[in-house]
Symmetry: C2
Subunit: 199 residues, 2 copies
DNA sequence: TCCATACTAGAATCCTGATTCCAGAAAACG
DNA sequence: CGTTTTCTGGAATCAGGATTCTAGTATGGA
């Protein structure tokens, strides 16, 4: 019972994506999104309570897609290979999804999750936790036990370094060049490999 | 001839800084800045053509202050020591100026410079160039000649890695812990040290 | 002292874009 | 078929804040 929808949630999220890619994050007005989707603004509001929530949902969807191959790679039984594969997975995904990758830079996790406890859906609270827990498992597999220091090292090597490598390029609207991947791997391995140093 | 000013440009920039630190970047309205400085809004507009320009100028001032110790450190005649000192300079500055450090995350160079060719002052166009040129000099001193590959490596080691190390913490409103400094140094040295690897 | 100049004041205005609202329209189901 | 429910359409409203405007006011110099 009830009419069949002409537009789905994802239609609008994809529209936001296209508008963002074409004209930049600043130009994402509700009217522009509606026009891009070929819908009236009312239909946008029928599905998303507010503009902010619309953008937040796109971000959550994107992060989840981004994380998936990373988490899979990291679960490799061999820690060394897992780390390499995880770092490479980041670059591969960004190369294959340049528009979505740009969305990653749009928000900060903390801002969003602080503002919508549950409107974003239960899994979104888990976004942090999914990676955090994977990093803990990885640390345990690699180091035997999970100390804060070891965890910090692992997080920097596997999250912050790859992110830094792509961030600059994405911000400039470029696809990260192949050369940066090797550099990031070098940095990442060095951080994972050394028990100490850097005094 | 003419009345003596009660407020200087820097008074308002400092007010923006305090408002940003206290209530977050989102709450920086012109009215709030004026109130913080104890001035009427008109006085703000007497000195800054627009709100955007006000924020942009704070960013430029902050970046310049941030860069200064970095550039000094990098100019060390010994390349190895220069790199270490430069990385350490970043952490030292952030620890000493937490509020200003948060401002660094507020904009992207490209956005600002694209929008105000000259309103930001001639030196602001040089912001990029100051660091770029220092990195070229450093690359020459270290590697003999300046290839794109070597430059990319140097830039990642000395700019992107330290930035990544502080970014996460600043975004969360924390001062970066001491532990991350050693980790960043490890990563940075590894990238500078290796002629290749990371295949 | 008086003028010229540049600054302070802050209320009033304007703009942009989010949000609301309600009258249809279209399907599912008996 | 009629009923029910959900969706579409888009004009009208609202809100928040940037910006403007017109008086005053303080200071330096003749």
């Amino acid at each position: 019972m009830g009419r069949k929808p002409r537009f789905t949630d994802d239609d609008f999220l994809d529209a936001v994506l296209r508008v963002t890619a074409r004209t930049g994050a600043g130009a994402v007005t509700v009217a522009a999104v509606a026009a891009e989707a070929g819908a009236p603004v009312g239909s946008v509001y029928h599905r998303f309570a507010s503009r902010d929530l619309l953008l937040a949902r796109l971000w959550v969807r994107t992060v989840r897609r981004f994380q998936q191959p990373f988490l899979t790679a990291l679960a490799d039984p061999d820690p060394d290979r897992g780390a390499d594969r995880a770092v490479r997975a980041v670059f591969a995904w960004v190369r294959e999804h340049p528009d979505e990758a740009a969305v990653l830079l749009l928000h900060r996790r903390e801002d969003l999750i602080a503002r919508w406890p549950e409107e974003l859906g239960p899994e979104s609270t888990t976004l942090n936790e999914a990676v955090a827990s994977a990093l803990r498992s990885y640390t345990r597999a690699r180091c035997g036990r999970v100390t804060p220091a070891a965890l910090e090292r692992v997080a920097f090597a596997l999250v912050d370094i790859p992110y830094a490598a792509i961030r600059t390029h994405l911000a400039a609207g470029r696809t990260p060049p192949a050369s940066i991947e090797g550099i990031a791997l070098t940095a990442s391995r060095a951080v994972l490999g050394s028990g100490s140093s850097g005094g």
